[in-house]
């Protein structure tokens, strides 16, 4: 196996391990569109990094924008004049449009927007892989530590609050974890396909699970299968890797639906 393939595979598998349980929480909390919005907004980070001529590293810029947007959403989600999806639609597409516009206006920079919209997992280096590994260790530890609170809030926030769970704090933790993972993962899966890898394996795992933990772990497993299958498909038939992984995840969902 070529080293660049191995790197891509290791990176994708590490990402999949985090995406599984986070995806389950996204499905339970109905936050798919929220994840999508963060991913779209992160493109603004790409523009900021390019305009700073590399003074702000790409991943850091995306992370900062993703966290800011996540905090704004956590703060204004309770504006009752609009449903959450209206607010999310405004932020997602407002920031995406601004990001694309700024990138296009910077004439002296030649960038391939496709790499950001759909990801390029074969372009990652070992540094990216180690960042992913460190992030995965942190996210999994946080999830393990706060699992009961996260689950209780997903089941019923009011009961959780009466039982002594800090609901707002727990929600913020989930929001920040999601924003961080999304910002770091954009290099691999792109802005447009990000939520697919969060939602599809988790939804497929729902068919096969009887407990929350089971669903989270099986989502991770199914995500790992999806990204590996997608990667090899992309190498064999010369398809773009991001879309190939998402196609595999979608097929897996349909398959699990048949055999539930």
């Amino acid at each position: 196996m070529d080293e660049f393939v191995l790197r891509a595979l290791v990176g994708a598998l590490i990402l999949a391990v985090m995406m599984g349980p986070l995806g389950a929480l996204v499905v339970w909390r109905q936050m798919a569109y929220f994840g999508d919005t963060i991913a779209h907004a992160a493109l603004l980070g790409v523009a900021v990094s390019l305009l700073s001529a590399g003074a702000v590293p790409m991943t850091l810029a995306m992370l900062i924008v993703a966290l800011i947007v996540a905090l704004i959403l956590a703060r204004y989600a309770r504006d009752t004049r609009f449903h959450a999806d209206t607010l999310l639609g405004i932020i997602a597409h407002g920031t995406l449009a601004l990001g694309v516009m700024l990138v296009a206006m910077s004439h002296n920079i030649r960038v391939d927007m496709n790499a950001y919209l759909f990801g390029d997992i074969l372009a990652i280096d070992w540094m990216d892989v180690s960042v992913l590994a460190a992030l995965a260790a942190t996210i999994l530890a946080l999830l393990w530590w706060r699992w009961r609170a996260l689950l209780m809030v997903a089941i019923d926030p009011a009961i959780a609050a009466v039982e002594g769970v800090h609901v707002a704090r727990t929600h913020l933790l989930l929001t920040l974890m999601l924003a961080t993972v999304i910002a770091v993962a954009i290099k691999l899966t792109g802005v447009l396909l990000m939520t697919a890898l969060l939602v599809m394996p988790a939804a497929a795992a729902r068919y096969l699970s009887h407990t929350p933990l089971q669903m989270a772990m099986r989502a991770a497993l199914l995500a790992m299968v999806s990204v590996s299958a997608g990667l090899f498909m992309s190498l064999n038939i010369d398809a773009p890797s991001g879309p190939a992984m998402v196609v595999c995840a979608a097929l897996l969902f349909v398959l699990c639906g048949f055999f539930r």
Partner: protein
């Protein structure tokens, strides 16, 4: 809401009644700490354990969870209370597959897991037919005596109030009147709010109810001036 002052003492059963939009649920949420009042305070007994049965609870089908794992998430299941609530045989069922009545019993058992001193129920009889309401009330009464917890509930269905409570708090943005169902039924502000018919029913029903059981009015607690073992909100 303004000028609301209410109190629940250890072991007693109190119902908040009032028309829609009177602030019943808001008051409950303030007492539970789910919402903070703009002014005023909630005084709780130290380390008060509260069991809460929310008005609306819709288990999500996307979250695979059976009754047993749902319950153990909050505390240890007491088999005898589970049996009394008829939840035992539901343990392996998915939460999202329960009927309305089954879910109500599971939620009640959940609220009782940590031996609460106060059980708070928001509209426990919503969507329950009249005979079911009576059953639910008798169950609450029996459990409350057996396990020694106080009950605070919101209801706008007066049958339960008539049949049950030792004390009624009538709320319409402020506390209009308060006392035994009989006393409240005779109160002018209650009559203005709910109409004479209902008020008469309340007073009458309660009268009959006490006689059927051979209890004189003196057996009912009157004005309470006990220690602050419960809530106070003003």
């Amino acid at each position: 809401m303004h000028e609301v002052s209410a109190q629940v003492n250890a072991g007693e059963m109190v119902t908040i009644v009032g028309p829609n939009g009177a602030g019943k649920t808001t008051l409950l949420k303030c007492l539970l700490g789910l919402e903070t009042a703009d002014y005023g305070e909630v005084i709780r007994a130290p380390d008060l354990r509260i069991g809460y049965v929310p008005q609306q609870f819709k288990p999500q089908a996307s979250l695979p969870l059976n009754v047993e794992s749902f319950l153990t998430l909050y505390g240890k299941i007491n088999p005898s209370i589970a049996a009394e609530l008829n939840v035992g045989k539901l343990m392996k069922q998915q939460l999202s597959s329960l009927s309305g009545g089954e879910l109500r019993r599971v939620l009640l058992l959940r609220a009782l897991l940590n031996a609460p001193q106060l059980l708070v129920l928001d509209e426990p009889t919503a969507g329950v037919d009249v005979s079911g309401q009576g059953e639910l009330y008798r169950l609450l009464k029996r459990l409350s005596e057996q396990l020694g917890f106080a009950v605070l509930m919101v209801s706008h269905d007066l049958y339960v109030v008539m049949a049950s409570t030792e004390r009624v708090i009538c709320l319409n943005h402020h506390v209009c009147c308060e006392g035994t169902p009989q006393k409240v039924g005779g109160d002018a502000s209650f009559r203005a709010l709910f109409g004479d018919d209902l008020a008469n029913q309340l007073a009458l029903y309660h009268h009959h109810h006490t006689h059927e059981h051979g209890l004189g009015d003196e057996d009912y607690p009157h004005e309470h001036h006990h220690d602050h073992t419960g809530h106070h909100h003003g």
